[in-house]
Symmetry: C2
Subunit: 325 residues, 2 copies
């Protein structure tokens, strides 16, 4: 038992989610359980190609055995053209169990790591679109439900909506929702009128759901409703004062941005089929409230769990194909 325990605790491989702004690495044992994790703010935007290996080693070297090579499976922007080495996009339709077939290995200085950079997905019809990182979260969903069909929403700076059929992505659309919100809240004329909101506050939740419903019903009025928020701050005597006022107006701005997204994303969504939300719990809760406001049910899968499940699936596929280990 004791020796079994010890063997289970030996490092088997390393999973890495390497985004634009951050990276996170997990030490995985032979049973695909997490033994340890580490992270840094050296995302793709902060690194030249020749600096990735040193950054990775800095984070994981204490996990490595004294000899031999360790497989590292990496998703995200490290595989972008401006990242470590480009892992070319797989065009849709793309079976998510086969992501690893598009993996590439960067040239390494040392011999302790064997790195596999997973590809993103691309689409040329009906519109141009790309994703890099989210496909691994979608693969995590498919790892749990191999024949999954349905709509999946991954909220964020660039929110993705993907249509899956039997475990394959057939189409997807990216919305600039999170970035739009942040630019408007931080840098536009609205910066004087918004702060941070709290959906547990009934006034904020009411302002949020009302804005979602308005933007969903009349998306063409989006940019006038944005200015209207500033005008409301100047003129509406019914608004609370101080931070409660900023919170209510922030909730409204968030609702307008998400409502605009939903007015497009839900156009062909059957009302009785739940949307699967993948991402951090707070943001997914916000989307669940928004979807509920316009009559759509939703389920939630944690984003970190999903990306780990997707990296496990890719690692297993690489192993089964004898591409490593």
């Amino acid at each position: 038992m004791h020796s079994n325990d010890t063997s289970r605790r030996e490092l088997a491989w390393i999973a890495v989610d390497w985004g634009s702004s951050n990276l996170r690495a997990w030490a995985m044992d032979a049973q695909d359980q997490v033994m340890a994790d580490a992270g840094s703010d050296k995302g793709m935007l902060a690194l030249a190609p020749e600096r990735y290996e040193a950054e990775l080693l800095r984070l994981v070297q204490d996990w490595l055995p004294d000899s031999g090579q360790t497989d590292v499976v990496v998703c995200g922007m490290a595989g972008a053209r401006q990242g470590w080495r480009e892992a070319a996009y797989l065009p849709v339709p793309a079976a998510l169990r086969k992501l690893s077939q598009g993996a590439v290995s960067p040239r390494l200085e040392g011999t302790r790591l064997r790195v596999h950079l997973l590809p993103g997905l691309s689409q040329s019809h009906p519109h141009f679109d790309v994703m890099r990182g989210e496909e691994t979260q979608l693969a995590g969903l498919v790892a749990e439900k191999p024949d999954f069909s349905g709509r999946v929403c991954l909220p964020g700076t660039h929110a993705k909506w993907a249509t899956l059929e039997s475990g394959a992505v057939t189409q997807f659309t990216t919305y600039l929702t999170g970035e739009l919100y942040q630019l408007l809240a931080d840098q536009s004329v609205l910066k004087h009128s918004v702060g941070s909101d709290d959906l547990d506050d009934p006034a904020c939740q009411a302002a949020f759901t009302r804005a979602v419903a308005e933007a969903h019903a009349a998306p063409q009025a989006f940019s006038s409703r944005l200015f209207g928020l500033r005008a409301q701050d100047l003129l509406d005597s019914r608004l609370p004062s101080g931070s409660a006022r900023l919170a209510v107006l922030s909730a409204r701005l968030s609702g307008l941005a998400i409502g605009l997204e939903l007015s497009d994303a839900c156009r062909e969504q059957p009302g009785d089929e739940p949307v699967t939300l993948i991402g951090n719990p707070a943001l997914c809760r916000r989307y669940r409230v928004a979807l509920d406001a316009i009559g759509y049910p939703a389920t939630h899968l944690d984003g970190n769990s999903a990306v780990l499940a997707g990296l496990r699936l890719a690692h297993r596929a690489l192993t089964d194909n004898g591409e490593s280990l």
Copy 2:
């Protein structure tokens, strides 16, 4: 004749357009003709209330007679709450010939100037909205056409659409179009994909009008089309390269932002009634091309001429009422 000429060239009053970022002053003779003009970048955002008078004197003191008081009629943000002194908004419906009835005078240190700050307009139904400065351009239109009825568009950072009935503003809506474009072009993920466009270039004009038509027809897809622009830059092999590529994608971004505005603003616009555009010629030409792309005719009135005509109208009303001179 000679002495007539000379008398005509004596300063009668001063017209001022004092915006957020700039101000412009005109020396006016007794026939309401411009004798000279001056400007600076000391807009409302750059001045504390107590500094307006000195800044104005700095610009106009060479025009002033040796003795007596000179009337100064000011429109724009100098009359905002955070400006020189607040000239409270007039609620709509508002007759544009009566703007001067809402004028206020700031407390002055010296005795050479008699300053009248014109009010802006506000609206509480069907949505909250405000304007400050554009009402004087609208008054300029009414100075030329006293019983004007129709839709007027004033493009800009915060584009305004006003409905006029017999020389009065009955309703108006502000769109964040220009600010949205600038934030997206300068600070979003799209900044790598856009430069500056040129509507005289056929490829730019085609990209612009196509984007206007797309956003007008499907405003709900606005935020996905924004990201699609980035994806197109990554994937579309038919795009030109270098600065021609940035120009085409910029034209598309501009078309999406203006098309979103038009999809709302033109919803109840009769197709045979021209929109009157007031503003700088380049921007109004862009709007005229956009309106033409979706089947609406437009006429154009120069923004500087309009604001001067509006200030003249206000000055005459102040004079007629014996409020000054």
